[in-house]
């Protein structure tokens, strides 16, 4: 069975359109980020406490909110978590699980079980923030060096442009949806980086192989041929990966739900960028530096 017969799509012909599309999504994300004062960071980075509570039956969140406000949870954010009998309380103050549980017991009686309490001090939050930034930049840098070494600098620039594109868009989408960035989302981002690269490298590898075979063609034509050659692989791998991340999103449970969501966005954007961002940027950089006037 074959989904795609031998294709001959002019991917680079729609460059201008895709560039516009990418840029507008990125700009929308950045606008949202600026308006909200940066990404919405979870307590992992800002310090604070979250408590996950399961009630014996479904509860009315707004009633609960009023009730808890009278018991010292003044600036707490209270949201439903997965099912109507389960809620998540977030506060900026750091407190231990026993304080939270004592407060809740006085407020609500013995109607619930405390499923999870995570409390992070502000000092640790700052450190985790720094670690996350170091992790992402270090990974990007090492990947850049590896590609520059295995291919050349233009390929490296193209792939890193694709990566930054992917992370920016995912970050922007998280900001637009007001989803929080926590430690596991950072892990998801790095996985997206890895996945997107995987795709990009497969294309680049084909370009590298096709260049000596097509000496009469321009680089742009070779790139187009290579994108078509690898298209069915790109689609199938994206499909299998997408299948599992969607399943993870649906069945994986509430705790990794956002993580799976980041991966869904990432797999989609990663596939797109390996076709419409990495190669065009690589071509553009190569032209700029070699002084080829033809656009």
């Amino acid at each position: 069975m074959r989904l795609l017969q031998k294709t001959n799509i002019n991917f680079l012909g729609v460059q201008k359109f895709t560039a516009l599309l990418s840029i507008s999504i990125i700009v929308a994300g950045i606008v949202s980020l600026v308006m909200k004062g940066g990404p919405l960071l979870s307590i992992d980075f800002t310090g604070g406490t979250i408590a996950q509570i399961k009630f014996k039956q479904a509860v009315d969140i707004s009633e609960l909110r009023n009730n808890l406000e009278n018991f010292g949870f003044t600036n707490a954010e209270i949201i439903e978590f997965g099912s109507p009998d389960e809620i998540l309380i977030k506060t900026q103050s750091t407190g231990s699980s026993n304080e939270i549980s004592e407060k809740l017991t006085t407020a609500l009686g013995e109607t619930f079980t405390l499923r999870r309490v995570e409390s992070v001090g502000p000092k640790i939050g700052k450190e985790l923030q720094k670690d996350a930034l170091v992790a992402i930049s270090l990974a990007l840098m090492m990947i850049l060096i590896y590609i520059a070494f295995r291919f050349d600098a233009y390929y490296a620039l193209g792939s890193v442009a694709a990566l930054i594109h992917d992370v920016l868009i995912t970050l922007g989408i998280f900001s637009l949806l007001s989803y929080e960035i926590n430690l596991s989302i950072i892990a998801a981002f790095l996985t997206i980086v890895g996945y997107s690269l995987n795709d990009t490298i497969v294309v680049f590898d084909r370009i590298r192989e096709n260049i000596p075979k097509n000496l009469k063609k321009t680089l742009q034509e070779v790139v187009n041929v290579s994108l078509n050659d690898t298209l069915s692989r790109t689609v199938i791998t994206s499909l299998t990966t997408m299948m599992v991340v969607v399943i993870l999103f649906i069945w994986g449970g509430e705790v990794i739900n956002r993580f799976a969501f980041a991966l869904i966005v990432g797999v989609f954007i990663g596939t797109y960028s390996s076709i419409f961002v990495a190669s065009p940027v690589m071509l553009y950089c190569e032209r700029r530096s070699k002084g080829n006037p033809r656009k």
Binding site: S96, N98, S119, T191, G194, D229, V244, I247, G252
Partner: protein, 628 residues
């Protein structure tokens, strides 16, 4: 040699046998029922666990705590003399290091140099050389010793608490990670870990109350900064808790204030105009107390450096260990905390105490029906205690644990034996835990909990359940897709995928790795991504076949070309995974480890194993067609 199918089969067989060997302990461990585990005995289970994949705290439930040793307090404690200028410098260094990249010690040294302080004067006990640099170096060595002993003490305390296989390890220079799997009562565990357990028996200086109160009242009346601060609206002062450290108690107290908006019991302003400090104090059963609404005000006043300077050297203020309630003269119920003024030099310290044990108070005694901690004393302690009690009959002695007064009994008689009983505990667990921490010894400095994650066991098993389901559904979906799309070759890729999962589990078990929820996610992601290698190869073979190559040539060309692509693509993903494993902690590390193991194993199964099968298929007779 890799061209020979025999060698290839041998390698594959070897890997499979090794995998089975590595997986065996994991399989056995998780297939045992509870009673079987009990029968097997602790050592046998422990052995199994050492060779098995362990579940992370997020899957089995438990408590993760990151502790930081309170370095400023330690540095202060190490000093032989503690004048205000030293305390000031330490506090300044602490504040500055919060917002700076350099560590406490280099800032402390800089401040000492800036202020022309000769540290050797305060650290005569440590100094080997006289310059500030060497003194700070010496303090750092002492810091390392202190952390090593804190580690040991916490380990001893937790051993008595009875958690199976706690993890207690040093992290960085002044932090300690404690992981307690399956702990239900996180409150007790937390108290147990955090308690400094410094025990002191000090004389209560009741006769000095008047003198010290006068001093503080006069000081505060003349202190213009205090007067202006106090004249601000009330609410302001109550929130002015600009304490950067998370003081658990403060949160709790504020809540108490919110609880009682009813009658206004607070001290009238006209009294405070004359007595800005002592006006807050009230007579309560057993001494002097402060009502809960005003507790933080007094706490703040006592924290002020100028106030501290006014308190005579011989004494210090200490709070009772909890809030109590009583009726005041007007008949309304007040909640208060007792305040004591005690001698700053304790008579007896924790080091002199022997064999503390928690017991039920004997019938007929004052402590009948309540939990008590009995203790005896070292010969030196016994002598001191006997002399002290003899000389101070009818005076009060405060029994102070971690700077809180648990009880302050009146000495009725000389105690010649050193046998002493402490009461005042909330419940049996508190008495037991205090006896435990006294036995394990005093922490060299207080420790702060700077990160805590507690997962209930039900959430953990829910996570495992949903992880399992997602994995199963994902696996089935990918298998169905691959078989429909690639037919015979799809079956091959599917077998490679299953083998890959087995290999990953084997490697994780061999590494004695910990499986976390993100780890399971990594495993699921691997299912989707690891077929990629086969997709690349199969697509390539199809292309080669389309070009008119023979089956054998197409397979060879497909694998050869695809190998480079797969290698490059996987190495870049591996780079990202390694960085995560290196920098990330806890669950993130778990995710990175499963992901990178998955990538490496998939290279073996998707390339080496499938190729061997193709080789066996085309070996000897030439094939005309390929199911792909």
């Amino acid at each position: 040699m890799l061209k020979d199918i025999k060698y290839r089969s041998a390698i594959i067989l070897l890997v499979m046998v090794a995998s089975a060997y590595l997986i065996w302990p994991t399989y056995k461990l998780y297939s045992l029922t509870k009673t079987e585990k009990e029968e097997a005995g602790i050592t046998a289970i422990k052995e199994l666990k050492e060779g098995a994949i362990n579940l992370g705290l997020d899957l089995q439930g438990g408590m993760y705590v990151l502790l930081e040793v309170d370095i400023p307090t330690l540095v202060e404690k190490l000093a032989s003399k503690r004048p205000v200028e030293l305390k000031d410098a330490i506090q300044e260094a602490d504040t500055r290091s919060m917002n700076s990249q350099s560590d406490f010690f280099s800032i402390f040294l800089a401040i000492a140099n800036e202020r022309d302080m000769r540290l050797v004067r305060f650290y005569t006990n440590l100094a080997t050389r006289r310059d500030n640099e060497s003194v700070v170096e010496e303090i750092k060595i002492q810091r390392n010793n202190a952390i090593a002993s804190a580690l040991e003490i916490i380990r001893n305390r937790i051993d008595e608490f009875g958690v199976s296989e706690p993890t207690i390890q040093k992290y960085g220079t002044n932090r300690i990670i404690v992981e307690l799997a399956g702990v239900q009562d996180s409150k007790r565990a937390r108290n147990l870990i955090q308690r400094t357990a410094s025990l002191e028996f000090s004389l209560v200086l009741n006769e000095k109350w008047e003198l010290v109160l006068n001093k503080l009242d006069t000081h505060l009346l003349n202190d213009t900064t205090y007067v202006t601060e106090r004249n601000k609206p009330r609410n302001d002062t109550s929130v002015s808790n600009a304490d950067t450290k998370s003081d658990a108690e403060d949160i709790f107290i504020e809540e108490n204030i919110l609880d009682e908006p009813s009658a206004d019991l607070s001290t009238p302003d006209n009294i405070l105009k004359e007595k800005p400090f002592s006006g807050y104090l009230r007579g309560v059963p057993g001494g002097v107390g402060v009502i809960s609404e005003e507790y933080h005000i007094i706490k703040e006043i006592l924290k002020r450096p100028e106030v501290q300077r006014k308190i005579p050297r011989e004494g210090k203020f200490l709070w009772g260990n909890r809030f109590e309630s009583a009726q005041d003269e007007t008949g309304s119920i007040i909640e208060y905390r007792q305040l004591y003024y005690v001698a700053s030099n304790p008579e007896i310290t924790g080091g002199m105490v022997r064999e503390p044990t928690a017991r039920m108070g004997t019938a007929g005694s004052d402590a009948s029906g309540r939990w008590v901690v009995n203790m005896s004393m070292s010969p030196e302690g016994t002598k001191k205690w006997s002399r002290f009690t003899g000389a101070n009959i009818n005076r009060q002695v405060a029994i102070v644990l971690d700077d809180k007064v648990y009880m302050a009994p009146v000495i009725k008689d000389k105690i010649p034996t050193g046998q002493t009983q402490v009461t005042g505990f909330a419940d049996v667990n508190e008495a037991k835990d205090i006896a435990n921490v006294l036995r394990a010894g005093e922490l060299p400095a207080p420790v702060d909990i700077i990160e805590e994650r507690t997962i209930g066991p039900s959430l953990g098993s829910d996570s495992i359940e949903s992880g399992k389901n997602a994995m199963l559904v994902g696996l089935i979906a990918v298998i169905i897709f691959m078989i429909i799309y690639y037919k015979g070759a799809g079956i091959l890729a599917t077998s490679a995928l299953l083998l890959n999962l087995i290999l990953i589990i084997a490697v994780l078990a061999g590494l004695n790795a910990t499986l976390t929820l993100p780890g399971i996610a990594g495993l699921i992601l691997t299912i989707g991504m690891s077929v990629d290698a086969n997709v690349i190869i199969f697509e390539r073979i199809r292309e080669e076949l389309d070009l008119g190559k023979t089956v054998r040539a197409a397979i060879n060309a497909g694998y050869e070309r695809a190998f480079i692509t797969i290698l490059d693509a996987n190495i870049t993903t591996l780079i990202a995974a390694f960085v995560l494993a290196w920098i990330g902690s806890g669950p993130i590390k778990g995710f990175a480890i499963t992901l990178s193991t998955g990538i490496i194993c998939s290279m073996f199964t998707a390339i080496f194993v499938t190729r061997s099968v193709f080789m066996a298929f085309t070996d000897g007779k030439p094939r005309q067609s390929l199911s792909i």
